[in-house]
């Protein structure tokens, strides 16, 4: 016995843990519990990392998450791991539960293990509910408004629930603090304690055997089953890692309680509950929002007391399979219905504020310049992202040229730069002006962000430029003041008002001498979406 073991007993404890005896039938179907514990630890780890760069108060929460996504190296990956890890944890916990259910592994004396498991499922969902608010973007805000409203409709307890969640009347700083406190202070130790209890109970009663196990020799957990669990955990982690790296989780715009066009939707795993709500109207609403879900939880808790017969082979548990199939069918049906009935917003442009948005500060002319830069395929020779190309890097090389020099160079490249192999650019003077204006704005700091400006804004800039909107209107301080400045139009008007106003200005603003404009649907969408992203 080693020195350390003599003093702490740690090696003996680990050995006892690893050399646990398990039934001969144990195998691949029992990996889900291990994956769930592993994913919980990943959530704790990535959650702590996010907290290191996160300010838990509404406005700052959004700004600090933007900082994580746009400035901190690896921020997207860490946030992706935490976001997709949450979804994956739900999936794995449900798979774990389904396996236990199908095998009838909750039967006497394992009822308590099952019931602790049901509470753990509820805790997992509570993380999802509370974590949803923490980005404090529009999605977070509106999703939580609905959730707290549901809590306030619980019979008798409703008013107390909404007071507890700080949501009397509105979702604000108090609700935020409560959700954050639950998410990072109360739920994690509660979960850890229940996971420990759950594992203790599994150890106390042993892994549930199946008929036939009693005549076969028992085996050890290590190394065979430990290997099985490890491979499953690794596979799950690979999926999670690839999703975190490849699937961007967009950050929507800052929570806006005055936004009347937003269609709030919960995360995908709550959609079935959300859809259930819609079947009950008026005084019956509480049936869908509170009574049915509570009954479902109660039924889950009582499963081991209802199904009390002898343990049977899994292949003979037809009723259990039927029940799982029904549940799956019901869940899928409700989820699909919820997705199908989600109204498409009239403007499909979604801006990812998790990416740099330096383009919002440009003038429309400069945005149009990005359009010409793309149209003329300038990037095939001039990198904006610090890569070597045929021509000079227009951002990192400090080219201190005037707009006039650039325009002369665009028309006759070799005349200004002897020996230049650049072809002349066939654009009008106004278009070349826009291109030069954009190039003057480039710095090594903003080049990549500007190069990735979203297409709808660039198209809007081009349209704005060709229609000469700037000869009457001002955007970001550039343009004339004959008409009203367009910054802040989002606060003053709705999108549909602006769209109708383009078609017939006189009708909506009597006395206006703005000419009517006919735009295609695409042009209108781009332009209106752009005007509504302008800063106040």
């Amino acid at each position: 016995m080693s020195w350390l073991d003599h003093r702490t007993g740690i090696e003996t404890a680990i050995r006892n843990f690893l050399y646990e005896e398990i039934p001969a039938s144990s195998g691949w179907h029992q990996v889900f519990g291990s994956i769930a514990v592993f994913l919980f630890l990943v959530q704790a780890f990535t959650g702590a990392l996010l907290a290191f760069n996160y300010a838990p108060t509404p406005g700052d929460a959004y700004n600090s998450l933007r900082y994580i996504l746009t400035e901190v190296t690896g921020g997207h990956l860490i946030r992706g791991l935490h976001h997709w890890g949450a979804s994956m944890l739900i999936v794995v916990v449900v798979l774990h539960m389904t396996q236990v259910f199908l095998y009838g592994a909750y039967k006497r004396p394992r009822e308590a293990t099952w019931m602790v498991g049901v509470v753990l499922l509820l805790l997992t969902m509570a993380y999802g509910l509370t974590g949803y608010l923490l980005p404090w973007d529009n999605r977070a805000y509106w999703g939580t408004v609905v959730a707290t409203q549901i809590a306030s409709h619980i019979p008798l307890a409703g008013p107390y629930m909404s007071r507890l969640l700080g949501g009397e009347g509105a979702v604000g700083v108090v609700t935020f603090a409560r959700f954050y406190g639950l998410h990072v202070l109360l739920l994690p130790p509660a979960t850890a304690l229940l996971i420990a209890t759950h594992i203790y109970l599994v150890r106390k009663h042993g892994v549930a055997p199946v008929p036939g196990d009693e005549v076969k020799p028992r085996k050890k957990f290590y190394p065979r089953q430990a290997f099985t669990d490890t491979v499953a955990i690794f596979a799950a982690f690979m999926v999670l890692f690839v999703m975190a790296a490849a699937v961007r989780v967009p950050l929507e715009r800052l929570a806006d309680p005055t936004d009347t066009t937003y269609v709030p939707r919960p995360d995908w795993y709550f959609l079935f509950l959300f859809q259930t709500l819609k079947f009950f109207d008026g005084p019956l609403a509480v049936v869908g929002s509170v009574i049915l879900p509570s009954l479902a939880v109660l039924a889950l808790l009582l499963v081991p007391f209802v199904d009390r017969g002898q343990v049977m082979r899994v292949t003979r548990r037809t009723a259990a399979f039927g029940f799982v199939a029904l549940a799956l069918l019901g869940w899928t049906g409700l989820t699909v219905a919820a997705i199908a009935t989600t109204p498409k917003p009239d403007n499909a442009v979604v801006i990812d504020y998790g990416a740099p948005t330096d383009w919002i500060g440009l003038s429309p002319q400069e945005l149009a310049g990005i359009g010409y830069f793309r149209k003329e395929n300038c990037a095939s020779c001039h990198s904006l992202e610090g890569k070597a190309g045929v021509g000079p890097d227009l951002a990192s090389v400090p080219i201190k040229k005037t707009a006039a020099w650039m325009i002369a160079h665009f028309k006759h490249p070799a005349a200004m730069v002897p020996g230049s192999s650049m072809p002349a650019i066939q654009l009008s003077d106004a278009q070349l002006n826009a291109l030069a204006a954009f190039l003057l704005k480039l710095t090594p700091h903003n080049a990549e962000a500007l190069a990735n400006a979203p297409d709808f804004a660039v198209q809007a800039g081009l349209l704005y430029q060709t229609k000469n909107c700037g000869s009457c209107h001002q955007v970001n301080g550039v343009g004339m003041k004959i008409g009203p400045p367009l910054n802040g139009v989002a606060r003053r008007r709705t999108k549909s008002w602006v769209a109708q106003h383009f078609a017939n200005p006189e009708a909506l603003s009597p006395g206006s001498f703005m000419p009517p404009y006919r735009f295609s649907q695409r042009e209108m969408d781009n332009l209106v979406a752009y005007l509504f992203t302008l800063p106040d």
Partner: protein, 170 residues
């Protein structure tokens, strides 16, 4: 050893090797991004700007003046506008004498030092580091001369750029 037993031993070894190998990969895939996330400084997307510290057209040569000004500092996800001081010295009485501005923190452990008018040196009260008017260390534990801001003078106004760390004392 019988063949069956031998295969069993090899298989067991393979399981154990796989367990260690896969867990090492997971540990690496989590800890390397975490280290990058915490240790690599965030991208700065703001250009350093020149801030006006004060009027230097009338200051006496080789008499340090403490100038207080406001400066925007990028602090994580915020830009803080904060009060900053600099000790400003016109190095000679020539017409275009160089004007230098020292960071107000001692290079030893960051205490605020002050100009002792009677003895003509900068004295740090914490561990009695002493610097002369050129910022060089006279005595005490300070490892290097006072740090300087980049400076330029336009129309008698002193503009300060970024802070440059001075060289370690040989």
């Amino acid at each position: 050893m019988p063949v069956a037993e031998q295969t069993e031993v090899t298989r067991r070894k393979l399981y154990i090797a796989m367990i260690y190998g896969l867990w090492s990969l997971i540990a690496a895939a989590l800890s390397i991004p975490a280290a990058i996330y915490l240790l690599i400084p965030p991208k700065l997307r703001k250009m350093p700007e020149w801030v006006e510290a004060g009027d230097v057209s009338t200051i006496e040569p080789r008499v340090p003046v403490e100038m207080v000004f406001r400066q925007n500092r990028v602090d994580g996800w915020k830009i803080q506008s904060e009060k900053t001081t600099a000790w400003v010295v016109k190095l000679s009485d020539a017409q275009n004498a160089q004007v230098v501005a020292y960071s107000p923190q001692c290079t030893h452990l960051g205490c605020a030092y002050h100009w002792d008018e009677n003895r003509n040196y900068f004295l740090c009260p914490c561990h009695t580091s002493i610097f002369d008017v050129d910022g060089a260390v006279v005595s005490g534990p300070a490892p290097r001369a006072l740090d300087r801001y980049e400076t330029k003078v336009e129309n008698g106004k002193l503009l300060l750029g970024s802070l440059r760390q001075s060289k370690e004392r040989a």
